[in-house]
Symmetry: C2
Amino acid sequence: MINPNFRLLVISTSTIYGSGYLEYIREEILDFLQTDELLFIPFARPSGISHDEYTLNLKTALEPFDISVSGLHTSKDPVETIRKAKAIFIGGGNTFLLLKTLYELGLVEVIKEVVAKGTPYMGSSAGSNLTGLTIGTTNDMPIVYPPCFEALQFLPFNINPHYLDPDLLSTHKGETRETRINEFHKFNNQAVIGLREGSWLRVENGNIELKGSLSARVFRPGVSPKELDSGILPESIYL
Amino acid sequence: MINPNFRLLVISTSTIYGSGYLEYIREEILDFLQTDELLFIPFARPSGISHDEYTLNLKTALEPFDISVSGLHTSKDPVETIRKAKAIFIGGGNTFLLLKTLYELGLVEVIKEVVAKGTPYMGSSAGSNLTGLTIGTTNDMPIVYPPCFEALQFLPFNINPHYLDPDLLSTHKGETRETRINEFHKFNNQAVIGLREGSWLRVENGNIELKGSLSARVFRPGVSPKELDSGILPESIYL
C-alpha cells in the first residue's frame, strides 16, 4: 500500500516547549537524512517571516551538524532544483499559503515524482499536513485561497499536527480539536492521525512507524477514536 | 460607509460557559428582531448535527418567547423563502461548509439583497464570520472546499469569533490566535475584529456598536493590536 521507495519524516512540530528549533528531534533527523545537503522549502512562512529569515533559522539549527541548507526561494529553476535535491524539508507555517505557493509555482507534481523515486522528504507541521491526502485537517487560518485542498498524498490518510487533547477545565466554547475532526468525517472518509507535539512518523520500506514518547490519536468516520502506541502502524488503521 | 438599512446582530458565540443555547443573549435578540418570525439557516451543522436537529435546538430556545422558527432546509424554493423572510439567523458550525452550501444553492446574492433592504440578519460564530469581507479569519477546519472565500461583506472588515487570548501558561507550540491573525495580515489589508465569547456587534442606522461586557481586540496590518471598549465603533477602526 505504501510505496516502498518512500522515505518520509512527518513531524508534528518543529519545536517543543523549552527547547530550540528542531533540537528535540535532531538525532532522528541526522539519522534519517543520510546526506549532508538539504533543500528547504520555506513557503509556509510561520508568523509571516521572510523566506530568507526562515531559511537562516534552519541553517542555524542544522549547519553546526554538517548539514548544508539551501532555500528553494533562491533558485532560478525550482523544478530542476527539486529534481536534483538530495533531500527535501518543507517547514511549518500556514498550510493554505504553502499549498497555494506550491501549486502556483508548479511544484506539486515534481515533488511527488522525486519522493516516489526515493528522495527523502521531511515535513514539519504544515509540511506534514501536505504528506496526507488533503489539507482538510489543518489547524491554520485560510489566509489565502489555494486552487484545491489536495495535498501531496504520500500517505493514505490525513495528518492533524499539533494534536491537542480537549482541556477539561476550559470554559471556552469554541470547538475542540476532536469535534473539528468529527465534523471533517461527516464529509470525508479517510482516517486522520492526530500527532501530538513531540511525535512523528517515519516512513521507510513500506512501513509507517510512530516515533517519539507519546501515543497518537486515530480518528475514523463512525467509530470512536483510538490511541495508538509508538511502533509500526498496522494497516488496519488506515485501510 | 455602513448601509443605514443594515440591521445586523453579529454574535461571537451562541453559548457561553454554564448557560443554555442563546440564553445569555436572549433579551438582546428579542429586542433586535422586532418580529415573531425567524428564518433559520442551519447549514453550518455544528458537530455535524442534522439540519432538523439544529433547527429544533433553536425552536426550543426561542419558541417559548413567541418567536416562531422555520428551517430554510425544508423550503422548496429557498430564494423565495429568503425574499419573504421577516428576519434571518445563520447559526454557527463549520464556516467552510456553510459558505459552500450558500454558494451551491445560489443564496449568497439574495441574502445580500434582502439585508441591504433592511431584513434583520443575525449571525452567530460561523454566521458572524459571513458578515465580514472573507472567511479568511475563521477558526474552523477546511472540511470542504468552497468556490471562494468571499463572504456576505456587510461589514468592511473581518470577524474572528470566539476570540481567545494567548494562554501564557500553555506549553503548546501551535500558533496563538493573535499569531494567526498576524499571518492573515501579511496577505490581506482589512481590519479584523476579534470578538470574545459574550460579545456581539449590533449594527443599525449606519452605526456599529460593540455590546456585551467585554472589550474586543482589533487587528490592523502593520500596527499593534488595540483593545476596543463597548460602544459605537469609531470609523477609524476599520476605514
